[in-house]
Symmetry: C2
Subunit: 161 residues, 2 copies
Amino acid sequence: MSALTEKEYFMLEAIKEAKKAIEVSEIPVGVVIVKDGEIIARAHNMREKTQNATHHAEILAINEACEKLNSWRLNDCDMYVTLEPCVMCAGALILARIRKLYYGAKDERFGGVESIFRILDSDKFNHKVEYEGGIFEEECRNLMISFFQNLRNKKKIDKSE
Amino acid sequence: MSALTEKEYFMLEAIKEAKKAIEVSEIPVGVVIVKDGEIIARAHNMREKTQNATHHAEILAINEACEKLNSWRLNDCDMYVTLEPCVMCAGALILARIRKLYYGAKDERFGGVESIFRILDSDKFNHKVEYEGGIFEEECRNLMISFFQNLRNKKKIDKSE
């Protein structure tokens, strides 16, 4: 087995976060934020548990990183996330001045990087976030697929009881 | 003087919030969220005070409204905000299922509704937020202009001291 690259290593950490989301019946999206080779924030989607529409993994991780650095400017910070960020989260990455975004699977329903909008491609903002998708893409997509399959199966069982 | 319309009344409440932001040296953006004719959440921009990149007035007001209703779905809720929402906030409005957005001045640098992106015009999301801009546009724009003029003057004084 070949050694992991740095981006693979950190994406596996984001996948660990996504798996924590599954344990609490949240859509499996996980994030880590890395600065100088160290994880400074990690989060998973919490929308259902906290009943808050903005509690996507990316926003929660940005909140944690801003708190840790005591700064709204996350200079030299990279984000690793299992799913292509939505429009809200893509906007938040620009506002927080994230250096580079690495993501796993595309999100064809809500994606704000390449699927529905291409927010990070705009030259009109005062900060540009670099990005690269497709890291452990299949693993990240399978997390989503199996989560929604289980949800559908559970609903069928609930209805038949 | 003619009576205020409902949307003017609530925009004046959003302007009051924006003025609170000025008092604490934050960029003057104010928001109220209204359900069944009552204000259920109000907020102003807090990015500098909390050193959090996501603490725009809209996000803080959505957080408060979700907490109050104990639901991430802000059905039948309208938002009034003094400035055209940015991309992050426009995305958050869709995710929170806000019914209608009313805003004051355009934001030609960051606006996500009509200036840089037209997020709310997309038919690809599973919720559509109606919107109407230009309510007390001049008052809202003047808040921004005088805030930044004062900031520049203050910097000049600081430099000359």
